[in-house]
């Protein structure tokens, strides 16, 4: 029997995630209906039974306000809670594409998230421009951003499944408080602690094992501090 507890994630992420997801669903059900009435997009009427019919523009604009607000909120929340590591992409993470399955899908998911962020930003900007009367090409761009957002959903779900299976997805339904804030990692402190650990290790080798254990309990090591930093970035 698997006794591992189901993973959780912070309540802020859950709240913002479902706000974005809910707004996006309403935007799609109203926006695609509006588009289905345009010349050249009649094929969307195949979704007639799914798409909304009434109060289309009111719902579309309200959902757009929610999406815009949630997007801005997310942009504030992520760095403020030091969770940018989730979508941080650098050379090291890109090298993960050629590493283990875990690092590969972690990197791919971050790239997919960036794709979504760009598409959603485009969706928001072009949507508001269209609202204030921008011409047809802006609406065309709005529709292309819509397709990118639609494509993101299965890609994101698939990446998360490959990354951690259903347990990984379940995080979004199991909120918890954000872990207590910890100070920023000071590189000088980390280096000095690493040096101290090396010195301590030499001491352990010279003076016995029990002293090293005592030091480790009294003071968190640089390695564990670095691990905390990594954890915060996940």
């Amino acid at each position: 029997m698997n006794a591992r507890p189901w993973p959780r994630t912070d309540i802020g992420t859950v709240l913002l995630h479902w706000s974005v997801a809910g707004a996006t669903v309403v935007l799609l059900l109203t926006g695609l209906r509006i588009t289905s009435d345009d010349v050249g997009h009649e094929w969307l009427r195949a979704l007639d039974g799914v798409l909304m019919s009434n109060d289309l523009w009111t719902r579309h604009i309200l959902a757009a306000q929610v999406l815009t607000a949630a997007a801005v909120g997310y942009a504030i929340y992520l760095p403020a809670s030091r969770l940018t590591g989730r979508i941080h992409v650098d050379r090291l993470r890109l090298k993960g594409l050629f590493g283990t399955s875990q690092t590969r899908w972690s990197c791919l998911n971050a790239l997919i998230c960036w794709g979504f962020l760009i598409a959603a930003s485009g969706l928001i900007v072009t949507g508001w421009l269209a609202y204030v009367g921008a011409p047809e090409p802006v609406l065309d761009l709005h529709l292309w951003c819509t397709w990118a957002v639609v494509a993101f959903v299965p890609l994101h779900l698939y990446a998360l499944l490959r990354l951690g299976g259903f347990r990984h997805l379940a995080r979004m339904f199991r909120p918890r408080r954000l872990a207590a804030q910890e100070g920023d990692l000071d590189l000088a402190v980390v280096v000095s602690e690493l040096l101290a650990e090396r010195e301590a290790a030499r001491g352990v080798q010279g003076h016995g094992h029990s002293q090293g254990q005592g030091q480790g309990q009294a003071r968190p090591s640089a390695a564990s501090a670095a691990a905390r930093g990594t954890e915060r970035k996940r």
């Binding site: 010349v39 019919s53 523009w57 607000a69 909120g73 403020a80 047809e136």
Partner: protein
């Protein structure tokens, strides 16, 4: 900020709330007004489709981009410029909108294989019908049959400044009523709400100044004919008065497999003979509406001289009653890719009308040789009456 570090979710929610508030405030601040300038009764513009009147010259037009229409040279868009004045009794609008080609014929009939058919768009040369554009919407403004240009003005009471409360898209927006004839949806409002709609039609405009005055309310009960699709169900759209309709169809049928129709009236002055068409005559003139009293009942004997290629008007204008004080009237002309329309309506509300007063919202829709597909804009112009 310290709060960003200690309470990141609170900071995010406060910022999101501020963004929401800013969006709503900006929306209200950017709401567009249509100032209806006050003029003396004697300075009121002459309704002739010509905006050279002195009263129009000193007024800067408000421009609205309308989109999502059919054709318009393939763009689906038409920029609308509007100016407004009022005297003690009437509202006057001067409206100019882009339309590359004037289309004045509506549902003309053409003889083919000894039967009458509805002419498809562009098939009657010289009818002023659409020449399909080259863009993605070209030639799809209702495909067939041939329809005239139209322009609609919607007046609604103060409320949320956004289109859509009366637009219900889908094959069957109402569970217990038929869908729209186009399969695209229906127009109707909620209970207790009413919207005024005036539709000018190029087909009848040359013979009558009367504008089709209708209103939108809650869905009308479905008649037996509508329930079996023998008649078109129009949702909540109703004419103010049945007698207000000046255009009368000159045919019956047309929904059979062969699409043949039966003409009802024949011009006293017979349509252009085919031989004359071949010699360069303009058959398009035959497609344009005629006054009712310039026609006689159609009989096969009377039509015996008409051969394949002959054209009959699909609409006749029956307007022998002078427009009343509550009727909407207009005159227009087309020149150089623009329709120019002068409209007049009483400030006070007649039956099934809304009054023209401060805060009322107004939208515009242009039809380019299309019956139902029209341009629209999301945010209304809010009327502000000058004193």
């Amino acid at each position: 900020m310290p709060i960003f570090r200690s309470r990141p979710l609170l900071a995010a929610l406060v910022t999101a709330g501020l963004v929401c508030g800013a969006l709503i405030a900006t929306d209200r601040a950017l709401g567009r007004k249509l100032v209806v300038h006050a003029v003396a009764d004697e300075a009121a513009p002459v309704l002739d489709g010509d905006t050279s009147d002195a009263v129009w010259q000193g007024i800067a037009p408000v421009t609205v981009l309308t989109a999502h229409g059919g054709d318009f040279g393939g763009t689906g868009e038409s920029r609308v410029q509007v100016r407004a004045v009022h005297d003690s009794r009437y509202l006057y609008l001067a409206i100019v909108w882009q339309d590359p080609t004037p289309s004045r014929a509506d549902h003309p009939l053409v003889r083919h294989d000894n039967h009458w058919h509805l002419a498809s768009a562009g098939s009657v040369a010289g009818a002023g019908a659409a020449r399909p554009g080259t863009g993605p919407t070209a030639g799809k403004a209702g495909d067939a049959p041939q329809v005239d240009d139209r322009f609609a003005i919607m007046l609604a009471p103060p409320g949320r400044q956004l289109i859509g409360a009366a637009i219900h898209l889908g094959r069957k927006p109402l569970a217990d009523a038929p869908g729209g004839i186009s399969g695209r949806g229906l127009h109707y409002t909620g209970k207790g709400t009413m919207i005024d709609i005036w539709q000018w039609r190029a087909a009848t405009a040359g013979l009558s100044p009367r504008v089709v005055d209708s209103w939108l309310g809650p869905p009308q009960p479905v008649t037996r004919a509508e329930s079996v699709h023998d008649a078109r169900y129009a949702g909540g759209l109703e004419l103010d008065s049945a007698s207000a309709a000046v255009g009368r169809a000159n045919f019956t049928g047309g929904d059979g497999p062969c699409g043949t129709v039966e003409p009802l009236r024949l011009p006293l002055l017979r349509p252009t003979p085919v031989s004359a068409v071949a010699a360069g005559a303009d058959p398009g003139r035959d497609a344009r509406p005629l006054p009712w009293d310039m026609t006689e009942p159609y009989t096969e004997d009377a039509a015996a001289g008409l051969r394949d290629g002959a054209v009959l008007p699909g609409v006749l204008v029956d307007d022998d009653v002078r427009p009343g004080p509550d009727d909407v009237t207009a005159r227009a002309h087309w020149d150089g890719g623009y329709w120019v329309l002068e409209v007049r309506r009483s400030l006070a509300a007649g039956p099934h009308d809304l009054p023209v007063r401060d805060g009322m919202m107004m939208w515009f829709a242009a039809f380019d040789h299309a019956e139902t597909r029209h341009t629209y804009h999301l945010r209304p112009l809010v009327l502000e009456l000058g004193r």
